[in-house]
Point group: D2
Chain length 439, copies 4
């Protein structure tokens, strides 16, 4: 893929390469035979032979790709090739290839294995990112910056608190991913395991166990919430990563310049503007986060499956689930790079907090006067003073001072951002301590 | 709403009516004052006065609606009206209206209360539907019907197994809904609770407790996975309901006629075709299930929120989350009606199973001959016999009999659908028993 | 609707109110009878009586709403009520109510009338907005501001050019809307007009003519591109409005402060931050623009309709198309207000252009040296000088001057933004003149 | 791609392969140089050297792919490689590589070229499909089949009319595609062409002309309706193809069996059910049609672009637009195969029309009695007779005959499907003749 180094994670892309996908399908076939042997359903030596043949290296990939269109899925031509391979070693064993399984059993199980493997890799990155952000949050628990609402300067926060907000979504995402189960699929043509008399359920359980997947009493051939839930769970993570990228890209604006993606040799340069520092990682994460939601909706839509094997809705899932996982893995890769050496310009943060000449402390003043004047009255008066300060181009403190409703000491307190932080520092400390206790 | 009786649930729609929405907002304001009094932050008598004024009946709704556009949200004009009301009783108390809170605190909390109330109603319906389906599945655990793959007749299942597949998604959906938490939002302008010195966190906890919501250490003003997760969870349910409606609408086809929505006086009639029996409930559920996924994607997309208050993305959520809940509640209402008296035509099921003149048992024959001939060889021969049977217009059993590879007794066994059910009956029984033990 | 004054346009909302929707349905029934009379298919006096009864005032709306769920659409109970009303005047005339039509004929045609009426109102606003923007673009054709790429300062443009970019999308959107056709639907149960022997096609043409709609030879009951195209066309407009709101909301940032939504009494104020100037109109437009795409996808998805009347996909469209039109109309209303008195702070634009201390002119320098040094060499050197300027905190001009590769006059030219505008002014002038010629 | 032969069209996939994508980018660079030479902006011999180097064969693809992530797009490392290549031939010429252009100019133009080439191939297929369907419609203009509403048998149509409904969407889709314009992008860093003094606009026009693209006065770097419109237009086509596949997949149901995808050696077979005839082409088309709408929504969402170069939204488009084109091209490929030799079982159509024992003619009876009894009365009586016929298991004709309200001749007429076709035949003939005249 042309954009692999931008939008994707190489290791997760590998899991979904045509070759690896076929390998996962073959892994199902190998373990099906082994499970069937384990349960005494087919002879062990045949199972062994089948299992040995189940390697993608032996598969003629171009021929396979060309034949997918005929049968409507990859299992049919793959089983044909596999049967030929096994037959060369043992015509008897060849009779037991893909025995009693249906195409969807193979494809669904392979997809679950791929999802499981992808999410394991994603969890590793998430663990690193979360650790980095905990450190960052704690380090900046006292770093004062302006909080912004509707992209307008509002009131002070600490950068640590902003990072905790980022963290919060990722911590929950990690828990949600950890709660996902990945299921084996084995039901045969219509989910009854009719072709494995007496042994079907035991084989399914053995197969699950061999593959490291969960077993479920009934097939989920056309009840797809199990699969769609993987998508929604990853989708929520992708959104929380996007929130971080949104913030950082805004903070990197030339006129704000408070936080920057780490610079790297050749990274983020512009072909025509040598001075620029483009938010390249943010761009990739944002692009992915804008693509994933629609893909998730496709999988939710694909839950409308007919009868015992769906006419199209199942096929809708194949590339879509893969894309969701691949894109979110790419976003994690970019986030990991970004949070590892995030540059924080604390002095610029302090400069920006003075940009409104004290207007951001208007609510402080308003609340300080609320007892004297009532909340509404105080609110209105302060609104007027703000307009006055703007019109005159002077600091709000100057205008408020003229009113002589507050002492100089009170004024000093009201306009010091450190006094306007409320619980910001406490929150960060509690949040980080809680985590330390937890881990 | 014109389509309330078709797509919606009246009780859930009520929760999201303009009046009720305002009442939920006022419930926040009332309980904020009470919580602040409880924590000794404001005088109890003022809190009491504020709380008494917090009733939508006192609100001038048309004026409110007209002013929403000015401030960009409903809190601003609502707090103005409320303050006037409180001032009439006590100018002192009026100073403490909405004290220290921000518009988003009010709106987010109200939305959580609405979601919680909606989902409670949805869970009630889900409980009834699940009980009905357990009964239906068990009652039909032996009812033979054809399983269909890609809408082609495949091999026999029991109707009970199909119902268990429906159940399976709903049981999981119910668990997922039960695991959702609904959080209070209280952070003030930028999430620091700066306007409630010393008492902010205690007030937030009291408020959560008074409202029956969960408390979280940091605000989620712009980290929206908590809200989006409600949407994805409901979305998964909507999809599983859609799967049921998909199946029933297909089974109601004139040419299949195996299962029918219960008929009711005037229901499902056509204005021009008096004989028709339209799948009205299915239609509504399918329509809703086709609308919900895109709405869910909007909420995932809306996770990309800027800084401490989002410029548009937050506003995107308001009507969208409401619609998701309302539509899914409507689907549940329709499903409940539908599953209560679902008509099952078991004799038609048996007739349909003979539609292919035995071709659906081809795999049985194929597997029965696999040991003699090898799997591939058996598969190919049976394929030819099938073509022969089709060409001659005779039953496959007749063609197979000619080959003299199987005894008449074997043939009888192979073509009896009851022998082709695999684990269908067992699965249904285990599934239903497991549930009995669980409950 | 609670958010009517924020997200919507009152006039377009009115078109889709339950009462007006029913009136549009009745307008179909009235004109169907009149068309049938016109073609000699039913007696004129009966048609007249039917037409007179077709007024929503005579309809029992609550009863109607309650019955929609039974038949699965609003036509069935509406025709029942209408028939009773007509019967009171003439039992003979009552026989010809809804004669030969099917429910979908009524609903589809009403929807087309509603779409047509909505779009007519939208076109009016679009005309005003476009005129305002032409004026704005021309007035600011020389107003220098910084162009931004990836939210980083890049090189100078004029504000007029930015406005032309906004205009460009709207001008095309207007043309696209003007090219839409709105079709009558009349086919009877399965599109064959079988219940209006000999006269069906003539009646359909008369009906189209009476209603001011287009006639098409075959029904579009289940071929929905005609309807979906309305959605995609409106969707493209919504996106172009969102682009404007995106830019303005970014330009309104406290730290940028170049362009502002017009202020109005009470507009955009914050309940807790008296100094703030929230981009309220932008917020509404952005929220709508983030909701519309998913709704459009629902209508594209709904094209997958079965046979001659769709089982759910048709019903998916009803509220969805209405929402798309209503939301986009609301965005237009907000845009009109916003562009009418947009505040442009030209001096702040000039201040911001100096924010990088000349770095934005690096490419000028680079190109000026390209002939001497080759493009790559020049690019690399300038990159180094930029780093030097940043490190020393001095203006790039100072650093470049040291190199003595360029004369002071050249330097002056290179760092004057007016010399870096390229074709910006020409483009705006050509664009605006072209439009004057066109109109 | 693993599923290339199922979901895709090889030729269109080729257009979007990494190599071809890079070739399109290089084609831009080659023609930019040639256009600049043509306008006297750079020496012709240098342009010639640059153009000669612009071949993907000379590019180190793995290195390129690895570097995309650094700069955030493919242009930056590609221009570096190209510059090295040109420098080897002429250091002087190397100074003019990518002269005055910005990364987005290259990528947008290449994308437009790819879209144009893809749509040209799609139009070819569409032309063939439309011709096939015209022939099919005309050939079956008299072929009686049942029309179905909500998947219930309704009243008779002809198969020709159904095909015309299919055609109708495709004919309009073809026109819409033909009206699309594909634009060159050339604006430099911020759209002002500042790096090509005096000659910029002339160069842009020459470049457009050399590439066979349209020229537009202002850049569309961040006004993306032009690109999104390609997506919506293709999306509408995808939906209309999906409608055909929906119908055919339903008609292929074992219990209906009226229309079949052409069979081919090995096509549509099941790995476990040798008798099955899976709707493989329909499945692929339906799967694609369920994926495209969400992808279109992503492009509409991506219209919300910031300033002069978008931070993420632009990048969202790259793979998404490609996927939409590739999927729709695949659907066309499958549709072409399917419609070429569609099997129509006309005798089964006649059998199915008798499935309800005359109930589908109930409206005929109802209308025939409307004059005697009034519409409502007739409707109600016929409703009762239908129930009677169903209860007794006899033909509706028998029940109606008992009432002695109609003569035997009338009855014969009423229950003959050929008499119930209304304008079906006329419509098909007019539709097909109109097309002949047009072509």
């Amino acid at each position: 893929m042309l954009y692999e180094s931008l939008f994707y994670d190489k290791a997760v892309n590998h899991i979904f390469s045509p070759e690896q996908t076929v390998q996962y399908l073959l892994t199902f076939e190998a373990n099906l035979a082994l499970a069937q042997a384990q349960e005494g359903f087919i002879p062990k030596e045949y199972a062994q032979i089948i299992a040995e043949c189940c390697t993608v290296k032996a598969i003629d990939m171009p021929a396979l790709v060309a034949q997918v269109g005929l049968g409507g899925n990859v299992t049919i031509p793959l089983v044909k090739q596999l049967t030929v391979l096994v037959k060369q070693k043992s015509p008897e064993a060849a009779k037991f290839v893909h025995y009693g399984a249906t195409s969807q059993d193979v494809i669904d199980t392979a997809q679950m294995l791929q999802a499981q493997a992808s999410i394991a890799l994603m969890q590793e990155r998430l663990t690193v990112i979360i650790a980095q952000l905990y450190e960052l949050a704690y380090a900046h628990r006292h770093t004062v910056m302006i909080g912004r609402s509707f992209m307008q300067q509002a009131r002070p926060i600490t950068f640590g608190l902003k990072v905790v907000t980022w963290l919060d979504g990722l911590v929950r995402a990690k828990e949600r991913l950890a709660q996902l189960s990945f299921y084996v699929q084995l039901g045969g043509a219509v989910g009854t395991l009719a072709s494995m008399p007496d042994k079907g359920q035991a084989i399914a359980q053995s197969l699950a166990s061999l593959l490291g997947l969960s077993y479920h009493l009934v097939v989920w051939h056309t009840q797809r919430d199990l699969l769609a839930q993987i998508a929604t769970t990853v989708g929520l993570l992708s959104g929380s990563l996007g929130k971080i990228a949104k913030d950082i890209s805004l903070l990197m604006q030339t006129e704000i310049a408070e936080v920057f993606e780490p610079s790297a040799q050749g990274k983020g340069g512009s072909s025509t503007m040598p001075h620029k520092r483009n938010p390249v990682s943010c761009i990739a994460i944002l692009a992915n986060a804008q693509r994933v939601p629609a893909l998730v909706s496709t999988l939710l839509q694909a839950q409308l499956q007919d009868h015992e094997r769906a006419t199209g809705a199942w096929h809708t899932e194949w590339e879509t689930l893969a894309q969701i996982l691949q894109l979110c893995a790419g976003s994690l890769a970019q986030t990991q790079v970004m949070t590892q050496n995030l540059e924080v310009n604390t002095s610029q943060m302090l400069r920006n907090i003075e940009a409104t000449q004290g207007l951001i402390f208007a609510e402080n003043v308003s609340l300080a006067l609320a007892e004297q004047l009532g909340k509404a009255e105080a609110h209105e008066r302060v609104e007027q003073w703000c307009k006055l300060a703007q019109a005159e181009g002077v600091h709000l403190k100057t205008v408020v001072a003229r009113q002589q409703l507050l002492t100089p000491e009170q004024l000093e307190q009201l306009f010091n951002p450190v006094n306007a932080l409320g619980f910001a520092v406490t929150m960060v400390e509690s949040y980080c301590n809680k985590s330390q206790t937890a881990s």
